[in-house]
Symmetry: C2
């Protein structure tokens, strides 16, 4: 591994209602420069807390049980009760230190507590750094429906401390690379080629290579969101692999990365059927190269029923993201009848 | 009663993120012109539904148990489950038909369901028409803390059908007039004089007088909110009587109007102490004239403890609304120590 000193890099991006400060190559301790410690409450989960206990010293911290199954209203109720007990008010900043579940819960609670208090995120997983912590979408699951309840509301800041990734299990790296491959597939053909030439271990071993990749992906997503914060057009592209992915994620207790990897595989096949997309094999090969599942057996009827309740659905059709080429995602409306036919053929 | 034909009056107001259409002198049936019936879900309570059953024919309607004690998360959970069952999507408009509890729950659920769907309000009480339905603040209570969780998000439209007031019990009229007197006290001395010259029965008997008063009050609040939607300054004035009012409202199961009437009384006394306000007796007399309580015995220590958790508090002080004159409210920061001293003297 190359020796690599992190120079902190500050960038500010303007969204429709506020600006967000990004601190790349930062250290967790820099948090003390961004907020007054006494006016901050940290939200994290048991895994992150156990692995980085020292970092939390001196900070008010609420520790949640880890896992998507806790991204539910009951957890929100508990966090709100604790905020009241801690005397949190509108001057308090709620800071989520964790993966996507933690940043989602943090953003949502901060959006509704006292009708909105400031929040910031310290994403601790690849997935959270390149995707979940960016763009202001937050939410909780309701039964089998993912993110059925939530808000679009930007945090005040994002702090990227790559040292959190040192303790990240391999499965979590794969999870994050599913979103990175998604970005490449819909937006960035050169990055797709770079990913083809590397493997996961390269990025795990080379800090500088990793930092560059994470920053590039954070900026891809940021740019898309800035163009279309409330998802009227371009932002929909980020749902590539997520429509079917979300439907099967809870059905089979898959990780988010596994679910959208399967979702991308089938979206590529649908793209083949409807748009003559010709690179399904290449996409499938890249997903496999990064340890992700592709073709999978799942209950198509059950998945289709969940699709029919998806947030992106209308009465008789659904908004679906397909590929035209590698690096070129497109949004298409597909009638449920047609989608059902294609799914049955598979 | 004068014969009075309602000509519907449409006004549009621009808030920071959206415009809101106001339909004064409207009839409930006009709703069919504003939304597609199949893409709307109405939310109301058992009282309103029972008294106006015919109006709801043909509309998808969710009926809640009436009362502030149901303005809680459990009700929100239930409404969300029903929206999912009804297949509500982002094209669905959620329409609250009721008093402040209903418009608060409607606005909140519409703000978080699928990260936000359109909503509209048909306020059915004087209080909701002049206050609760206006300005986009919504929320639910958490334990003894009123509106501890919620959003500021404007509805798409407000439809005023005064015929709902025909079935409104006297206590509910008094409730609404507490907010009307509040508007007069902080913003409108001439309206204060007019109210002194009339009594509740005048407004209940004279449709035209009532319609004028309601529209005037809806516009007072609208103007304040347009100037300061996110409550950085002027909007705080609308909290006159509400700080202590909210603290004692749940402690003693008072109606909102009763609670803020007592809150206004004590705020006037504090104004006397701190600002030399000289019209406490006049304000108290007007509140009494409209059937509202003023001086009341309450557990000052318990109320003070709740104040210390108020949304408007900071670490050692609280934002309080006082009067300079009739028609002139002012915001002042009072240290808890000083407030405690004044409360003890009373």
């Amino acid at each position: 591994m190359l020796p690599y000193i992190h120079p902190m890099k500050h960038k500010q991006f303007s969204f429709s209602r506020s600006t967000v400060d990004y601190y790349f190559n930062a250290a967790f301790a820099d948090l003390g420069k961004l907020v007054v410690q006494e006016q901050a409450v940290l939200l994290t989960d048991e895994h992150v807390f156990a692995a980085h206990q020292k970092k939390f010293r001196g900070w008010n911290t609420i520790v949640l049980k880890p896992g998507e199954e806790y991204k539910v209203q009951q957890t929100v109720d508990m966090v709100i009760d604790q905020l009241i007990d801690l005397g949190a008010d509108r001057k308090t900043t709620l800071i989520g230190v964790g993966g996507g579940v933690i940043t989602d819960i943090t953003g949502y609670v901060a959006g509704i507590y006292m009708r909105g208090i400031p929040c910031g995120f310290v994403p601790t997983s690849v997935l959270a750094m390149v995707d979940a912590s960016i763009g202001g979408k937050n939410g909780i699951d309701v039964g089998v429906y993912k993110n059925m309840v939530g808000l679009i509301r930007q945090p005040s800041f994002l702090l990227f401390d790559y040292s959190f990734l040192k303790t990240l299990p391999r499965a979590e790296w794969q999870n994050g690379f599913a979103e990175i491959i998604k970005h490449a597939a819909i937006k960035d053909a050169p990055m797709f080629r770079q990913l083809q030439q590397r493997k996961l271990t390269d990025y795990r071993k080379d800090d500088r290579l990793l930092a560059t990749l994470i920053e590039k992906n954070a900026l891809i997503k940021t740019k898309v969101v800035m163009n279309d914060e409330f998802e009227q057009g371009e932002r929909k592209l980020l749902n590539f692999g997520h429509t079917l992915g979300h439907a099967i994620e809870n059905m089979y207790e898959l990780s988010h990365g596994q679910a959208i990897s399967i979702g991308m595989t089938y979206a590529a096949i649908i793209s083949q059927h409807l748009n003559g997309f010709g690179n399904t094999d290449e996409l499938v090969a890249l997903l496999k190269q990064y340890g992700l599942p592709t073709y999978a057996v799942f209950d198509k009827e059950a998945a289709f029923k969940i699709l029919q309740k998806d947030k992106k659905k209308e009465k008789t059709s659904i908004s679906y993201i397909l590929l035209k080429n590698i690096g070129k995602g497109v949004q298409q409306t597909i009638a449920f009848a047609e989608l059902e036919k294609i799914l049955k053929q598979l």
